[in-house]
Symmetry: C2
Subunit: 212 residues, 2 copies
């Protein structure tokens, strides 16, 4: 499914929107952008085809439905975040729970920025279909695994004990997820600086030398 579009190249090089010959990934990037701007329910394949400058059938060459684009977008975000959490859980070399949690969050911020449109879409999913419910379940599972890392870090004494672990998890998710609302890739703050800033503020504020 990564073949060329079934439409000949356009004769005019200055065509203002899109180009024919889109790859599957091109189509998906535009679909995700459209879903984020207009809302998934309100967006149509016709809108997407118009934006790409191709026919609807050229879109259907790559995806058999609007929902299969949503599925691909949500999988992209969830698979990448899942890898980041698994890496954190499996971190070895004598690091404690605080360090494992901190590196997991740093990796999650990096993933979030690298897959910003897909993660933004994921965070807006409200469970309006079985597909969306399944994505919400995967998201909750990831949140639960991070919450376990938080609990372990509190138990080990690496994270302050004066705040309930579930509140700590919520505060971490709140700050990290809010990045989708303002962060501009390619702007003044690069993704490595951002990830270091977020984890610096969070984990130096959460460290057990506070709150005793």
């Amino acid at each position: 499914m990564t073949g060329e579009s079934d439409r000949a190249p356009a004769p005019h090089p200055r065509r203002p929107r899109g180009r024919p010959g889109h790859t599957r990934d091109d189509v998906l990037r535009h679909a995700i952008g459209l879903f984020n701007r207009r809302g998934y329910d309100a967006a149509s394949i016709s809108d997407l085809a118009r934006e790409l400058g191709v026919t609807k059938s050229a879109v259907f060459y790559h995806f058999d439905s609007k929902e299969s684009m949503l599925a691909a977008a949500l999988d992209e975000a969830l698979d990448a975040l899942s890898d980041a959490v698994a890496d954190g859980e499996q971190a070895v070399g004598g690091s404690g729970a605080y360090d494992r949690l901190r590196s997991t969050v740093q990796a999650a911020v990096t993933i979030l920025v690298q897959h910003l449109p897909a993660v933004t879409l994921l965070l807006r999913v409200r469970g309006n279909s079985p597909l969306e419910q399944q994505a919400l379940k995967r998201r909750r599972d990831l949140d639960d695994r991070i919450a376990v890392l938080v609990q372990n870090a509190v138990q080990e004494g690496g994270i302050r004990g004066d705040i309930a672990p579930d509140v700590i998890s919520r505060l971490i998710f709140g700050m990290v997820n809010s990045l989708t609302e303002w962060y501009q890739p390619g702007g003044a703050v690069d993704e490595g600086t951002l990830a270091a800033s977020v984890t610096g503020v969070l984990f130096e504020g959460l460290a057990s030398d506070h709150g005793r």
Copy 2:
């Protein structure tokens, strides 16, 4: 506009939804709840009247339009947040910019929890009408005033200098605003504890003994 409804009390005491004789504030609370659940654009006065168990004219006794309810809700949130920021700016007694900022954020969290439905509605406003644009402008003005407090605290050396002040402002807003997505008033965590937890994590993480 705080008089009684123009409808006689219902004869049945177990009427399942709402009661007649609603005050203006009752109507506003239900309107805000409905706008948050269904979205302002999708919600109608008929929905609200049905939920309250009254006629549409009983609703119009208190508010002349759906937009006047939205205006009252947004003013409630913005007036309260504005008071919290003004108190922080005017704090005296030798406190530095770090302390002024910290007490402003703590006050803002308390306001957010006390006016949770109205603040939730405010945070969802996207500027779809002149009224919404005006609310967004007031919200941006408040954000700008907090950003000035952040800049002052960085300049005074109370807040770490290794993160750009505008990123610090965004991280503060991100954590604080995310409370509207999960905090349940009357639950296990009271509002004072929540405000202390949020400011504890943020300001101990932002303190200038980190990031040197």
